[in-house]
């Protein structure tokens, strides 16, 4: 039971970091990143590659995070001045192309064989879990600070109406770029931790489903609310991963059918949450102006 609990917590923490990253990009700034899994994969591969070329794992992680932030900024630059739909398709396209490169360029990524024996920054599963939880906490605190900082206010203004924000003298393009890179960095961190945890990566581990999980966490938690996202990651991922236990009980369904069912549930959850609970379960942080006792 203990190893299972450990791996569950690990999955939750990694999904939480990715969802927090998406929250900065989409929840706070309104930039749709359908290519989340591509940046996540990018970081995992950079990190794995660097540790394989005998870099220190800590250094590899930092380099991978910085590179992922830069890569997200570059990709978003293609269409960040256009409306949201374009950013969605551009990020998705970049992610799909990246995956093709990972599959086919075997001299670089070992293709479908994958990269194994990735060194960890700390030895053992439990210390790695502690590190991951600490990083989750760190990212959470950082993004809570960002949400309360002028940068966060500007981000919400841009999300709600870029024209008004621009009229008030905000440099929309630069702010979007910065916030997209910031979120991309967190997604990259999640990718590194993925590589450290499994110590083996191959292209099949990375797919659009990672993006869907992150979106579901952000929507159910409440767009823009970091606390809500922590809450929803812990409940939603727990529930979804818990359905893996069903494998032993429902013998008439094959495990691949159960996997398909689980993904259908994710999709259904996304749709239902959007229809019935679009604001999520926890409201985002708002600065209260004036007499705080009187209003609302």
């Amino acid at each position: 039971m203990a190893p299972y609990f450990l791996s569950l917590m690990m999955l939750i923490a990694i999904a939480g970091i990715a969802a927090l990253g998406l929250n900065v990009q989409w929840g706070l700034t309104g930039l749709v990143n359908f290519g989340l899994f591509g940046f996540y994969m990018f970081a995992a591969y950079v990190c794995a590659h660097l540790t394989k070329s005998s870099f220190d794992p800590w250094l590899a992680m930092v380099v991978a995070v910085v590179l992922t932030a830069l890569a997200s900024a570059c990709v978003s630059l293609i269409s960040i001045r256009l409306s949201d739909d374009y950013l969605a398709i551009v990020t998705l396209g970049a992610a799909e192309c990246l995956k093709l490169v990972v599959i086919h360029e075997e001299w670089l990524t070992r293709g479908s064989l994958g990269i194994s024996n990735i060194a960890r920054p700390v030895a053992g599963d439990a210390p790695l879990l502690l590190l991951t939880l600490a990083l989750l906490g760190g990212v959470f605190v950082l993004f809570e600070l960002v949400a309360r900082a002028p940068l966060g206010r500007a981000a919400r203004a841009i999300r709600d109406d870029p024209l008004v924000a621009a009229t008030l003298g905000k440099h929309v393009l630069a702010l979007r770029l910065r916030l997209f890179a910031l979120g991309g960095g967190a997604i990259g961190l999640a990718g590194c931790l993925h590589a450290f945890y499994y110590q083996y990566i191959d292209p099949t581990q990375f797919g659009p489903i990672l993006t869907a999980y992150a979106f579901m966490n952000v929507i159910i938690g409440g767009r823009g609310s970091n606390r809500g996202i922590l809450l929803s990651t812990f409940t939603v991922v727990l529930l979804l991963e818990g359905t893996r236990f069903l494998n032993d009980y429902v013998a008439w369904l094959s495990s691949s059918q159960l996997a398909a069912l689980r993904l259908m549930l994710v999709g259904l959850g996304l749709i239902l949450a959007l229809i019935f609970k679009p604001e999520g379960f926890v409201r985002e942080y708002r600065l209260k102006v004036g007499r705080s006792s009187g209003a609302s």
Partner: protein, 292 residues
Amino acid sequence: MLQILFNGLVSGLLVALPALALALSFSILRFANFALGAMLTLGAYVIYFFNVVLGWPIQFAALVGIPLGGLIAVAVDWLVYLPLRGRSGVTLLVASMGVALVMENAVRFAAGGTPLGYDVEPARPTRFPSLDVLGGLRVNHEQWLIAAVGLSSLVVVWALFSYSRLGRAMRAVADNAALAAVRGVSLNRTVAAMWFVSGALATAGGLLIGLDATLDPQMGWNYLLPVFAAAILGGIDKPMAAVFGALVMGVASELSTLVIPSHYRTVVAFGVLAALLLVRPWGVFGQARVTR
């Protein structure tokens, strides 16, 4: 050379039907429908069900399956997009991602992940000896089918769009929904009709792609990027221009296989898309608006 051009046009036709479907829904509802790939997959499998499981000839399977695909799209609209109408385009975008997940995995649940093929009689390719001076041309049986189904669907949609009352209503709503409503065009009926056409087109596209290669639950997803690139190339709010975009994309990707390995077709599509978005995001025929 002639062969490459021809193959390019045929693979362009494969993309043209879903690209047209995408541009239709974008022009009327102003949101990018990411569930289109999954709709294509689902439609292809519906026809597979009639064709292989029930053993009908492919023509009948297609005749029943294509309208059924349209009805599925209308049902999805009714269940998902109708309650969300009036919300921002981004909300619909994310919802369509959810729809895609549900559809694709419903297919995987019911049919499994192994590639399948339609029950079509194999036939010898047609050759054109008179064209040998230009490098020769051979046309597969499947390519004839693709050309016939693809072109006739395009003609039907074009006629519907240009000459029928419904087509006029669609164009009116696409142009200015509020004004159309004031003039008595029923928004809900027009949108439902649009979804029917869009779903039927996606299903027909799925049939053609299944004929060209094999059916698998990922098939539609893999075509999503070329379809978006084609629709944006033509001008995403100009439905018939998407067809032009698709043909250009088809020829371009076929030509690119001369220099780039063919598994990088998606990368070529993405390259075209990225270049286009940087230089002329409103497409070849679109007008410079609505992009910001």
